[in-house]
Symmetry: D2
């Protein structure tokens, strides 16, 4: 057990490797475990998915400690690193650095902070103002977080929202450089175009100054090889477990409602035994043998 | 708004109606909203589903306040009544009655308490001891809860685990009568047989002493008309949203992992716009027009 | 029970009465109960005291749901209205109005919002920037909260930080009027001068446009009759239970450390029986007689 | 920083040292900090004090995660080890071992488990039943906790309630030996006699089989030298910060209520500056210089 690398180190290595790496969205302990079982090497704790699963909006309606609790369940259910979509850090530098300490305590490997204002607005919402933080303020927030972490491998990813906010390449580049200089372990360059032109332009101008992470939710038709060729470090599949579960829950619920019966859904869904397996009931069975009195 | 019945009243009316009523499992705000949109008149806050979604076991590994927080998100996301699967009430009569007060504060319509010992063991687990509470102790717990509630229509459902624990009809009947006499608004008679024989025997012996709720997870092939004919009041579809989402998340995650691409899943899952709709972003858009400065 | 006025109504009546009313700080369920037992008609849920008792700073280091939980314990322990020192509402109008809903659920009678930026800085700290919110933005936040509340008597108090921030009477008056027009049930005019000159100037200019609340922590030597004469509605004794307990805990702990014995402190402190009384153990004794099996 | 011993190691060393050691009660971050500043080497996270400060009873009315949150604030506010009064572990072996993991994550040095049933009853309450756990069950609970901890120095203290429950020395000794053999790092032998005769009898019979901790709340007149002579390892001053603060808050509140003024209390209580000092505002002042933009 001692020889196993820490989750933070695992994430840092992924960011710095020469391979294109992939992490997949989860929004609770269950989906996190499913991501791990599928073979992924890391998990994206999506702000959109977590808020939507709670039934609230991706506008910091859930408190940061409520999000933290979800992260703890996700961490407890898995052995692979989790990168939290930490929005703006939920306030100023002091809130953000406090979050970093709390994430470390709970075994989370890194936090991705975006250069917006609290409370945030989801980047994919149409026709919404997307005001950005001042560059200096956000760079200092990154620095405060890096100074706070105790584990040297805890990762801070700085997410640049310049393209989202309607600014061009110059602003995106200037921000990425400032955040990298402030200590960010990687830059997440976000774009909501349906083609990869923003990312292409950025990768060219960036010229390998450090690891770059992307979120191709909108430009999903771009072949993955193209991301490799551009030199991207990591791809986030950002909200697809949530979206898959919405579709199937809507269909399942409608079917049961219409049928007033389970017969048409029973075979299409996971068994109760599979639920128990995912909960690792087998460990508890063994533990009860060891730790409950025989009589 | 004042003329709308309270959620508690809606649940009580369902239990007491002459129709066979149905409530459907949810385990977070999102699935609760989906249940409501499908047309269901009520929601089952399943202990198995909530614990599994968190990645922990259905053995009271999550604290009762963590469950309470999930219930609050579910209640906030919906307008129909929620019946919480409250296990044993998470301790003795004092813990249980304290829970009732907290549930009322959060707009939950009722609590279903089962006559087991804390911490509980899931009823569908094979080869596990299922020790029952003493009848008198559990009946007094029901009474304590009924005495505590402020809203006269808050519902306490007493769940009898006699069949689950391997006892026969006599014990089941004796317990049901004791709990009904203690004030329970309904009896939930549980069975894990794959046929409805336990329920049939009970319904006959019970002879309409009050509303009866069933959970046909294992005897799902029984035609619903048969439950009507027996005089059952309410059927709980207990864990099918969770099980549906497990299956689809496993498949979606595997597909993306294999493909290293989203192209094969994008069309099969809900859109990002649908996520926003379920989060009721439209209300926030309107609110921002009213409450954010124009400049 | 039905005839007793709601806590919200009790607070509203205090704000609107012709008498000068007083509310006293509490920071947890225990101190809230002590305030009630002393005869006070209302409680101030102080942000400074709550944060200090937790060991964190009055800079929104605790999340808003952590504060909410403290408020719930305070509300459960008492029958008199509580006014929460809600800082800025913990974000924008949407965070603030969400808080209002949650406070109502927990039986809190009102929220005091201040026209600063999130995260806030304590008003009594020297040499700190105290940036104010834009008037229009804050007025709309007040309006959003008033529109959100379901109980018509829930109180929103708008706290004006103009004097704290170094602005003069004109700004203070302009803000107070804007917030009152936006629906605030009362204005809290804050000052950190050691004399009441700020308040005097304001009260004269204000000319009875609505209830005014003050916090004479710094100008505590001003005779209370003077506040009455000026037409103040309510006085908050804002942090004195916390400060009293700090002094005595420091002395008690030092004494025990020095003595390596309890003999010199035992007589100076509350008995263990008094602790049980404050916890209302008597109610539990009676409940155990009713709800625990005799055998 | 790396050279500083872990908090767990510090607590373990205290238990195993040849000196008589002392730890002092705290119930929130503030009192924990005061205990540290007074010179104490460790802190007792008292269940009675924490529940009373919340305004609830020492009967597991607060959930275990609510207690955990208090512990986290206490740990964050201090550098010395904290031993949590963990009651029964809040359930069976599985709840208890889960708690251990969570405590480790939050920097708590140890947990003291008592051999009672969940929900617990405070040991000092008169005329209350104090049912004990079966010896084997409790010993296995201790073992489960020891097997779960990752930090080898995390301490499990087994608290024997045999004297409290009215059993004699034989039962106390049998239990202490069973728990020690199950892996307990120390035995806490509780007594509510006003003289130390229970403890004397036990220490003689125990014959140095391992560290013993005592709580002389009731036999406080016994000279501390006598505990040393008996071979006791550690003394807990268990609830005196809470009791001191109750007394002073009652007096302060009554005085202010009577006077309708602060003039008679201002000099007797800590200053607002002292509150800021205890909150370590100085660190935030420095951090703001580093991490807030100059402009
Ligand atoms: Mg996001
Ligand atoms: Mg269940
Ligand atoms: Mg304040
Ligand atoms: Mg205790």
């Amino acid at each position: 057990k001692m020889d196993k690398p820490r989750k933070t180190t695992m994430l840092k290595n992924m960011l710095n490797s020469n391979e294109l790496e992939f992490i997949m969205e989860a929004h609770n302990g269950l989906s996190a475990r499913i991501v791990q079982e599928a073979g992924f090497k890391g998990i994206w704790g999506s702000g959109l998915s977590i808020s939507a699963s709670m039934g609230v909006r991706d506008s910091n309606e859930a408190s940061w400690t409520q999000v933290l609790e979800v992260m703890e369940f996700m961490s407890d259910a898995t052995d692979i690193p989790i990168l939290l979509d930490a929005d703006t850090g939920y306030g100023n530098f002091n809130n953000a650095r406090r979050l970093v300490r709390k994430l470390e305590d709970r075994g989370i490997a890194g936090a991705c902070l975006e250069d917006k204002l609290f409370p945030k607005t989801n980047s994919l919402l149409d026709d919404r103002k997307q005001p950005l933080a001042e560059i200096e303020e956000f760079a200092l927030k990154i620095k405060a977080c890096k100074d706070m972490q105790r584990d040297p491998d805890f990762c801070i990813v700085a997410r640049v929202e310049a393209f989202i906010a309607g600014w061009g390449l110059d602003e995106a580049l200037k921000r990425a450089e400032a955040y990298r200089n402030a200590g960010a372990d990687a830059i997440l360059m976000h774009s909501k175009k349906s083609d990869p032109s923003d990312i292409e332009a950025f990768m060219k101008a960036w010229n390998n100054q450090g690891p770059v992470v992307i979120v191709p939710t909108k430009y999903f038709t771009t072949p993955t090889q193209h991301f490799k060729d551009m030199g991207v470090s990591m791809v986030i599949w950002a909200n697809h477990n949530l979206r898959a579960s919405i579709k199937t829950m809507q269909e399942t619920t409608k079917q049961i409602f219409k049928d007033m019966s389970l017969v048409n859904v029973e075979k299409k869904i996971a068994t109760v035994k599979e639920v128990f397996r995912l909960q690792r009931d087998d460990e508890l069975v063994e533990a009860e043998k060891r730790y409950l009195p025989k009589s």
